[in-house]
């Protein structure tokens, strides 16, 4: 089975937030909320500074605490690519998943259910990239099957240094950042 993931090149990302807006428009995210966001981390004293800019979102973890803690089964692994989705009709808005997520990737939709990144599965199932990937003016984001050794994402991980976010949480995240 495929394992969908993203590989994001922090050397190219400029933090413009195009991915955030593309997601909001594509998925009709209510005003004041977002499913993806930019983090800028800088270290050092002026002028010797190291800076990493990252676009972040749900990591679609292989061992996802949001799935295991969900009392109704609304949070689940989708049968395509292991993508984590929330079934809005089954969600009771208890927020257990929000508390369990190390990435703070979820929010309560004004209509009462919990919402988050879907990897734009509705686009992916038609053979398109997620909206954030296809809009990016720096071409810094890559989406694909991490279990396929020939995919772009697997090849990039073979050829470049990378890290994931909060690996110590042990959730096996599926988003990797090239450095």
């Amino acid at each position: 089975m495929a394992r969908y993931g993203m590989v994001i090149d922090t050397k190219k990302c400029v933090g413009c937030q195009d991915c955030v807006i593309a997601c909001q428009a594509e998925n009709n995210v209510p005003q004041g909320f977002c499913r993806d966001w930019i983090t800028t981390e800088s270290k050092g004293k002026f002028p010797t500074i190291e800076m990493e800019i990252r676009t972040e979102r749900c990591n679609h973890c292989t061992d996802a605490p949001c799935v295991s803690c969900c009392p109704t089964g609304a949070s689940h692994y989708h049968d395509v690519g292991g993508v984590i989705l929330v079934n809005h009709d089954e969600c009771i808005g208890c927020k257990a998943c929000i508390a369990s997520c190390p990435y703070d990737a979820r929010y309560v939709h004004p209509e009462g259910y919990v919402d988050k990144c879907t990897f734009c599965i509705h686009r992916v199932e038609k053979g398109e990239d997620p909206a954030c990937v296809s809009v990016c003016p720096t071409y810094c984001m890559h989406f694909g099957d991490l279990d396929d050794p020939n995919s772009d994402v697997s090849q990039l991980l073979k050829s470049r240094k990378y890290h994931s976010l909060i690996p110590e949480a042990g959730t096996k995240p599926n988003i990797f950042y090239l450095t």
């Binding site: 090149d9 050397k11 190219k12 400029v14 933090g15 413009c16 937030q17 195009d18 955030v20 807006i21 593309a22 909001q24 428009a25 594509e26 005003q31 004041g32 977002c34 800088s42 050092g44 004293k45 002026f46 002028p47 500074i49 800076m51 800019i53 296809s134 809009v135 990016c136 003016p137 720096t138 071409y139 810094c140």
Partner: protein, 736 residues
């Protein structure tokens, strides 16, 4: 600029449209392609994809608007468009928000209170046009047609420009020259006899070494440049970033040079000193193409890296190392000419230094250097001749600024309005430019407006400048209207169409319609022979062997490919007096200026003050996007960047609100402190466009601080009249 028009003419005649039309993957309107909204079970009418081009900034990226059940859903890049390559920037992606913006002007407004008090009554279009036409007729009768001026920004202004030319005034201007890229164009024209243009002729995608002086690519989101910047990074290009602030581009750089603000000329001279002293330049290219190189060589010898260190605070060894690195990759090295170049009042000379450093790289017409752009020829509409003005324009009397030739000076027209010299300016038409924020020293802009008999603002939102108008005309936003065709000089030739995707929600109208209606009321019918804009566009396109219906489907049609690089044995041509690249300029010498660029020290900030610097954020364009819900959500106010150590020393905290006071005692709105390691200790920085004081512009009223308000001082470039604006100093206003 005369040489520009010459060059344009040559290129245009070379690139007439041929039979080869690039195949388009777009099929215009796709109906019923997707199902929508399973949840509500509402009947699905399907999705339409309509190509157009963006107007959230002035880059004009090709886009595809998606309409779902008759309502605008999203806007994506048009893959066939060479400017967007199928990817818009965040502002373009957020363009949907411009259509749905709740702050939009909804109907024509007439002033009923004093100017600037924002007291208006709604009127009909006919009433508004009657008022405007009556005033314009009186101005023409009393003072002559030259006493009307147009300030416009963007391709949307094209029809109003036509109206003003037909009326008989030569006073058409935009802040994009004297407040932005003017010095760069003049500096390059004096050196090469040609300009940089927009989009810039920088082959960033193929460069091996890119030098950015204050250019904050990535924060400045001119789409194609950012895309190419990313490709250059991917291919391992060396990035050298010079900025008092650790910008996003500094984060991508191999070498970051934290220069003292105002000393860029010293660095440029020292780089050239190293390259000449170590004979790292392209000797063959210089021997063939340089004029006055011996004098230059003699003069440049004094500007050693050690000399420059005292001025710039940049380590001499770093200056040497970066100079060698540039030379190593030449001719695939670009010293970026910048875009907003009105900094210190010696900007045309600094741009000349940038031009000369590029010349030492021998990169003119070379891959990875400064390429030769071309465009597609679409003949103009066959209008009758415009009336000729006897008086000439009012922006630059007696050629006070001798090299401000090609474009008119916005601040020159403002001055003429205030002084009444060389003749009175009595009417302003303002299109798509928020002059109280765009021109330095807001008070002068207001003083000028108070002298007017007629002040008309055409805009989509109630911008600050609209509050000063006698008549405000609400324009439909770009996804609701047609505009002029876009055929820029670029790496590929093409024609792009802006066309309506959805209807305007209220009584907003396109500018072509306004221009035609006003023209007819002024008795200028013969200049508006077309029934509507479709007829106008189709006439132009048919004369080039194309048609509107074809372009409506494709959005973009490309012309035949030409090389943008010089062939191996092809010699470049330079339209300068010497026919060569002018390292020494007799033109400058004769006009009383330095024939070879020289350095002058910037004024130091008084104790306790910081130099005020400003720039852009990727999600806003000037002061015109602040109420767009997508863009507002991500940034609804600006911050003032202050060095973290300085913040600690003077006792302000990150996130704290302060007011800034400038050297003339002007106090800003409250603004949040961003205490950061990413800036020098002698300056502060803020994003332009915030702190607007229009009460009608509800969402953005008083949010953040306005750099424009604090820029009471400006230094005018004696060569070309550009207004250097980085010459103001601010401190924390503790009494506020």
């Amino acid at each position: 600029m005369s040489s520009l028009s010459r060059r344009r003419f040559l290129k245009i005649t070379g690139a007439t449209f041929g039979a080869t039309v690039a195949a388009s993957s777009l099929s215009g309107v796709v109906k019923g392609a997707e199902k929508v909204d399973e949840k509500t079970g509402k009947s699905v009418k399907g999705i339409q994809k309509i190509p157009t081009f963006c107007d959230i900034c002035f880059w004009k990226c090709g886009a595809i608007a998606y309409v779902k059940d008759g309502e605008l859903w999203k806007i994506e890049g048009n893959p066939d468009d060479p400017l967007s390559n199928g990817r818009l920037c965040p502002r373009g992606t957020g363009g949907v928000g411009a259509h749905y913006d709740e702050s939009r002007l909804k109907a024509p407004l007439m002033r009923k209170g004093p100017r600037g008090k924002e007291e208006f009554v709604e009127v009909t279009w006919d009433e508004a046009f009657d008022f405007i036409a009556k005033k314009m007729k009186k101005i023409k009768a009393d003072y002559g047609p030259e006493s009307m001026a147009l300030f416009s920004h963007g391709i949307g202004g094209a029809f109003l420009k036509h109206l003003m030319k037909a009326y008989g005034t030569p006073n058409l201007t935009a802040p994009s020259f004297a407040q932005c890229r003017g010095p760069r164009e003049v500096g390059f024209d004096l050196t090469y006899g040609d300009v940089i243009g927009s989009p810039e002729r920088t082959d960033i995608e193929n460069t091996k070494c890119l030098v950015l002086l204050g250019s904050h690519l990535g924060e400045n989101m001119h789409n194609t440049q950012v895309q190419e910047f990313s490709h250059a990074i991917e291919k391992g290009a060396t990035i050298i970033t010079v900025d008092p602030r650790f910008s996003v581009a500094a984060g991508k750089a191999k070498h970051y040079l934290p220069i003292k603000p105002g000393t860029d000329m010293a660095l440029l001279l020292a780089w050239m000193n190293v390259i000449v002293a170590e004979k790292l330049y392209n000797k063959n290219f210089i021997d063939k193409n340089a004029f006055g190189f011996e004098q230059f060589e003699y003069e440049i010898a004094q500007y050693t890296p050690e000399w420059a260190y005292i001025e710039t605070t940049i380590d001499p060894e770093v200056i040497r190392e970066t100079a060698r690195e540039m030379a190593r990759y030449a001719p695939a090295t670009i010293i970026h000419p910048g875009r907003h170049t009105t900094w210190y009042g010696d900007d045309a000379q600094r741009s000349r230094a940038v031009a000369l450093l590029n010349a030492l790289m021998g990169n003119w017409g070379k891959k990875g250097g400064l390429y030769n752009p071309y465009n597609l020829s679409i003949p103009r509409y066959p209008y009758p001749k415009y009336p000729k003005s006897e008086k000439g324009s009012a922006d630059n009397p007696n050629h006070k600024y001798p090299f401000a030739e090609g474009e008119k000076l916005s601040t020159g027209l403002r001055e003429a309005t205030i002084t009444g010299k060389p003749y009175p300016i009595k009417g302003w038409f303002v299109y798509g430019t928020n002059l109280t924020q765009a021109l330095p020293n807001t008070q002068e802009t207001i003083d000028a407006i108070q002298k007017l008999d007629l002040m008309v603002v055409v805009d989509v939102v109630p911008s600050e400048i609209a509050g000063w108008a006698d008549v405000v005309l609400p324009e439909s936003v770009y996804v609701e209207r047609y505009d002029e065709l876009n055929t820029p000089l670029f790496k590929e030739s093409f024609v792009a169409l802006r066309q309506p995707v959805v209807e305007a929600p209220n009584d907003q109208k396109p500018n072509w319609w306004m221009a035609k209606k006003i023209g007819e009321k002024l008795g200028l019918q013969k200049y508006f022979p077309w029934k509507n804009v479709e007829e106008y566009l189709d006439t132009r396109l048919k004369s080039a062997g194309l048609s509107l219906s074809e372009l409506q489907k494709k959005g973009v049609i490309k012309g035949p490919k030409e090389s943008i690089y010089l062939g191996e044995n092809e010699e470049p041509e330079f339209y300068t007096p010497s026919g060569k690249i002018e390292f020494y300029s007799h033109k400058l010498k004769e006009a009383g200026f330095d024939p070879i660029p020289k350095y002058s020290k910037p004024e130091e900030p008084p104790a306790g003050y910081f130099r005020l610097l400003f720039g852009r954020a990727p999600i806003h364009t000037f002061s015109k996007t602040q109420s767009n819900r997508y863009l507002y959500d991500l940034m609804d106010e600006n911050e003032v960047w202050l060095n973290a150590d300085v913040a600690k020393r003077i006792g302000v905290k990150n996130g704290e609100y302060v007011k800034l006071k400038n050297q003339d005692g002007v106090v800003s709105n409250k603004v949040k402190i961003k205490a950061t390691e990413r800036i020098r200790t002698d300056c502060v920085y803020m994003v332009h466009g915030f702190g607007q004081r229009s009460k009608m512009y509800r969402q953005t009223f008083n949010k953040g601080a306005s750099d424009a308000q604090l820029i009471t001082k400006y230094k005018t470039d004696p060569l070309m009249g550009g207004t250097g604006m980085n010459v103001n100093f601010v401190t924390i206003d503790w009494e506020a």
